[in-house]
């Protein structure tokens, strides 16, 4: 630790009673509560904080806020490490650890700086031109380029912190807690409107924190304190500090990231580190301030070159001298007040270099204070290496060209003010177009598109009096528009207005010096004025193209400092006005946002909701592993000790065919349909006929999409003349419900019918196998389960195991089967009852794997593998189901030429020539495996399994003209599995093709 040589003994808004210790690049330093990492580094005399992206040039701190392009640091260590944090916005805490990124092995000795010596070999577009040939080598080049040009390290471990989301509504959302924003919030808050005030800093006050302004004859910070106190006392005003509104979305919804505990080493227990707010506002006030811009000259990136406003903030807010001897270079009045502040803080102001011939009243006052003012002068070049040591200053003409002999002035601090850019990022994101304002040589908000108003510096009104007046007016008006107050604007506090001389646009100084000197426009991406000139020479004209070719403004700072200089230089080169060359569109986020905040709590187990059937715990108790089907957890198998998974599947599937098994089918979609036109609606939805279905009978149905492709299938039962119970596939339950509502509400609202999803109201179990009836009959006394009373496709209501139940004689496995539905609370009870009743028959529960094997053996298509959105009923061998006497959704499409093409793929079964050989999943069907590539493919395997009941491999496949190929030898080729299997085409129903087992 040392004594913070650049810290003043008094002044500033830091708390000297709370010293903090931190480590930067392995060295321990001291700071105070209230510091940022940047101010603490400067207090300790640390000026070299980074190496530049492309040339690895030494870089120092340029700004004091969100605009900082250089001082990007890797903050914290281990799992909590975070790259690309701006040292200017990192609040210092005790024990903070940070390091420079983009330098290796150290910021002082950097091998990549060799790139700087080869700089002439690295012009704009260099990577595109050099490394794209041969194209196949790019990944190799990229690997090495990325190593050199790293932008920090992503953490490798799981983020130890937690994040959350908040949704909020308000009448007036104020973005920015500077003078304009505070005034707006105050005026709106007084009306009783719900107000949210957002500011990215820890302290409210904005620019007032770094200046020494006077409001109502008192220090401005007294007004800030009073205003914040008044706001905090209003019950409907929410003050969000350390919160950045980073996106202005449609319909006045703003996204705000609140860094709740980033200012501490780690969040307190059970607290989230950051919170993402989504705020829908009736009215929005954008008081986002302005960002000062540098002026381009030779070697303008030397550490010690910074914005005037930054040096001023370090002096006033943090009591830190950013250097000992300063040259201030400006084209406007604002720098003069800052120069006086610097002098008061003990920095020797060696010269004020003003590009204007006459700096007016401000210049006179500076001279009166003993400061040397060089009018109509410019800084041609900075000198020095790891720190600026001197500048060359010379008279310049109106175009920024040196017009006289240069003078060398020693200094270790160069402060720049090339004017101010209103922070119009959120305005631009809201859809508004910026307008160029020549008086300030900057883009300002144009016409509002959404319900926002820009005020103060954000709209180009840089005077404090204007900012306060505009803020008060926008707050009062916004509240009135949202229904609060009468819109009367409170009186503005008294401000002394200075007489200002106009600024004079100057973007770059053209010196005479070395040709190799670099003049940086975009510090973060190492884009120079020469790069822009090269792009123009190579034919680029559009600002959007120049941006992408040179990477101007493409860094994490989105060109907050360099964009307009680049635009101005481009406009000069192509001979067009700045507004004609255009501006670039700002996109979210305003400053980088951690993925953790965007993801919120939706990570790990909370990534998606989990749906568990009423039998879930029952399955868990039996050690079943689960498989995800959409959001559902379904039991996959019920293994016995010592079994392999394949053995379990085989045992379960055999048990169903030889005795009895039962399976949880609760995930099926279930829709209750009632009304006089219920049958009519089903007739219009399903491809088969429904009106004549008897009460108490079920029928299998298929639905198409309107384009004729199979959409879903399931059984639907008529419970009463006007009451049906529909089942859908698990995957399509939600989509079928929406489709029912669509066809009813959009196509045929005249139908008298209502539908309700009852998927979660019923638990379902299928009892399947030759002994299914024997098991069920032991569980019910009031339902006759005999083949005559309850035949295949019959339905009965009564009690099963003493529980209210519906019993459907339907089958997916191809065996005699009953599906028992009970209210979902009884899901576990019915499983226990069936297990007990089935004991004499060695009943077993089975999972989705055996379910799938059984249906493949039976040749049942399923939605997904076979009905993949490209198959018609005829493709699946079901044209016999298609009604010829009525219309239904998708029917007209079935007669379109492409859907009647005889070459279409049709569902078939496949047997391996070698019964033990497995057919690879996803294999393609080919006629001649020795055909040279590309090999014509005639189909694909859709489902494949080893059939334990047939003792051989089987598969379902979709094959061109498949039904005319029974007996034909084909090949299932899988380049993925690296195997080609010889197969024979057969009918797709492998077991009980006549369906006799169903009906016994």
């Amino acid at each position: 630790m040392n004594g913070q040589p650049f810290r003043n003994p008094s002044g500033g808004l830091i708390d000297r009673a709370r010293p903090l210790s931190f480590t930067f690049n392995g060295r321990r330093h001291a700071g105070y509560a209230g510091d940022t990492l940047a101010s603490a580094l400067l207090a300790n005399g640390v000026r070299l904080v980074a190496r530049s992206f492309k040339y690895h040039r030494p870089r120092g701190i340029v700004g004091a806020g969100a605009e900082e392009p250089n001082a990007l640091v890797q903050l914290r260590e281990g799992a909590a490490t975070e790259p690309d944090t701006r040292a200017t916005q990192v609040e210092l805490f005790d024990g903070l650890v940070a390091k420079s990124q983009n330098c290796w092995p150290s910021v002082g000795f950097d091998l990549g700086a060799l790139a700087g010596l080869l700089a002439s070999a690295l012009p704009a577009g260099f990577y595109y031109k050099t490394f794209m040939w041969p194209a196949s080598w790019w990944p190799t080049y990229e690997h090495h380029i990325r190593r050199i040009a790293g932008m920090g390290e992503a953490p490798r471990d799981r983020d130890p912190d937690r994040y959350d989301y908040r949704h909020a509504h308000c009448d007036v959302l104020v973005v920015g807690g500077g003078p304009a924003g505070l005034a707006a919030a105050l005026a709106a808050g007084r009306t009783g409107a719900r107000v949210i005030l957002v500011d990215e800093g820890a302290a409210l006050g904005g620019s007032l924190l770094g200046e020494q302004a006077v409001i109502d004859g008192r220090p401005a910070l007294a007004w800030v304190e009073e205003t914040v106190g008044a706001l905090a006392a209003m019950p409907d005003v929410l003050l969000l500090r350390r919160a950045t509104a980073f996106a202005y979305n449609d319909h006045d919804m703003l996204a705000i990231v609140e860094r709740r505990f980033d200012h501490m080493a780690s969040p307190p227990p059970f607290e989230t580190r950051q919170r993402l707010w989504l705020v829908r506002a009736e009215r929005v006030v954008l008081a986002t301030g302005a960002i000062e811009r540098p002026i381009v000259f030779a070697e303008n990136d030397r550490p010690g070159v910074m914005l005037v406003s930054a040096a001023r903030a370090y002096a006033n807010r943090y009591a830190v001298r950013a250097g000992s001897r300063a040259v201030v270079f400006t084209n406007n009045d604002s720098a003069y007040g800052a120069a006086l502040d610097l002098a008061r803080a003990g920095i020797e102001v060696a010269a004020m270099v003003d590009v204007r011939p006459d700096g007016g009243e401000a210049a006179r006052r500076a001279r009166a204070a003993g400061i040397r003012v060089l009018a109509a002068h410019g800084v041609l070049a900075a000198h020095g290496g790891r720190s600026v040591e001197a500048v060359s200053v010379a008279p310049i003409d109106g175009t920024g060209r040196a017009a006289g002999r240069a003078e060398r002035i020693d200094c270790d601090l160069v402060c720049l003010s090339g004017g101010w850019n209103p922070a119009i990022h959120l305005f631009s994101q809201s859809g508004g177009r910026a307008r160029y304002e020549p008086a300030i040589a900057a883009f300002v908000p144009g016409t509002s598109v959404q319900a926002e108003r820009s005020v103060g510096a954000a709209r180009g009104s840089f005077a404090l009096a204007d900012a306060l007046a505009e803020g008060l007016a926008a707050g009062a008006t916004g509240a009135a528009e949202a229904g609060f107050g009468d819109g009367a604007v409170p009186p503005a506090p008294g401000i002394d207005r200075a007489v200002e001389a106009p600024m004079r646009p100057l973007w770059a100084v053209h010196g005479v010096g070395s040709k190799r000197a670099k003049r940086f426009v975009d510090f973060q991406n190492d884009v120079t004025a020469a790069d822009i000139a090269l792009a123009v020479r190579e034919g680029y004209r559009s600002v959007e193209h120049v941006k992408r070719y040179t990477t101007l403004g493409m860094g994490t700072d989105q060109g907050k400092l360099g964009n307009i200089q680049g635009l101005a230089i481009l406009s000069g080169l192509v001979g067009a006005d700045i507004p004609a060359v255009g501006t670039t569109t700002f996109r979210p986020p305003y400053t980088p946002v951690a993925f953790g905040a965007i993801i919120g709590h939706a990570t790990g187990a909370d990534f998606d909701p989990v749906r568990r059937t009423p039998m879930y715990d029952w399955h868990v108790r039996r050690g079943a592993p689960f498989v995800n089907t959409g959001l559902w957890k379904r039991a996959q198998v019920f293994p016995r000790p010592g079994e392999t998974v394949l053995e379990t599947i085989g045992r379960e599937a055999r048990a169903v065919r030889t005795s009895v098994g039962f399976v949880d089918v609760s995930t099926l979609g279930k829709i209750d349909i009632q009304g006089g036109d219920a049958a009519e609606l089903l007739d219009r939805l399903y491809i088969n006929n429904w009106k004549k279905l008897a009460v108490g009978k079920a029928r299998y149905g298929i639905m198409l999409r309107e384009d004729g492709m199979v959409f879903d299938d399931g059984t639907t039962t008529r419970l009463a003349e006007d009451h049906f119970f529909m089942t859908t596939t698990t995957a399509n339950a939600v989509r079928v419900m929406s489709m029912l509502e669509y066809v009813h509400q959009v196509h045929w609202p005249e139908l008298e019918v209502h539908m309700t999803s009852v998927s979660e109201q019923w638990a379902g179990v299928a009892i399947a196998g030759p002994n299914a009836r024997n098991v069920l009959s032991r569980l019910t006394s009031d339902i006759d389960v005999g083949n005559e009373a309850l035949p295949y496709m019959g339905c009965a209501e009564g009690t099963v195991a003493g529980l209210p139940a519906r019993v459907f004689r339907i089958s997916f496995s191809g065996e005699m089967a009953y599906e028992v539905n009970v209210p979902s609370d009884y899901g576990a009870a019915i499983m226990d009852a069936i297990m007990a009743a089935g004991e004499p028959f060695d009943i077993i529960p089975y999972g989705t794997e055996a379910l799938n094997v059984l249906r493949i053996e039976k040749g049942h298509f399923v939605v997904g593998p076979e009905a993949d959105g490209r198959t018609t009923p005829d493709d699946l061998g079901l044209s016999g189901m298609v009604s010829k006497t009525k219309d239904f959704i998708g029917k007209r499409s079935l007669s379109r030429p492409a859907l009647t093409d005889p070459e279409r793929k049709q569902l078939v079964g496949l047997l391996t020539v070698d019964p033990g050989e497995r057919i690879p999943r996803g294999a393609q069907i080919v006629e001649d495996p020795s055909h040279p590539l590309p090999c014509p493919m005639v189909g694909q395997v859709t489902s494949t399994c080893f059939s334990p009941n047939l003792g051989r491999s089987i598969a379902l496949a979709l094959v061109k003209r498949g039904r005319s190929r029974y007996g034909e030898r084909l090949y299932a080729a899988s380049p993925v599995a690296g195997r080609t299997v010889e197969v024979t085409v057969v009918h797709h129903v492998f077991i009980d093709p006549k369906g006799e087992r169903l009906r016994v």
Partner: protein, 94 residues
């Protein structure tokens, strides 16, 4: 995120809704007598206008009603909303 005024529920966030496409396309009254090209147009052909567009939205996480929304595809401004069959109510603001 859009704010959509459901005629049955009031203003709700877009994430409660599912998009349902062009509301002006009508299913042919008698599909069997529609020509291949008429049917093809009904199934596949949609305009992609720049400006006002009348479209269907399903208030899936709300009242489960399909509604009609006139939306400016350029500005995302919602100009009017209403039931599928019935008059649209003009919106102000947003």
């Amino acid at each position: 995120m859009l704010l959509i005024r459901c005629p049955h529920c009031g203003p709700r966030n877009q994430d409660e809704f599912a998009y349902g496409g062009d509301a002006t396309v009508k299913r042919p009254a008698d599909p069997a007598s529609a020509s291949d090209s008429e049917w093809h147009a009904y199934i596949y052909v949609r305009d992609n206008p720049r400006g006002p567009h009348e479209e269907l939205w399903h208030h899936a996480a709300g009242c489960r009603r399909w509604i009609r929304v006139r939306r400016d595809t350029l500005s995302h401004r919602i100009l009017a909303t209403g039931p599928v069959h019935g008059p649209l109510a003009e919106e102000e603001g947003r």
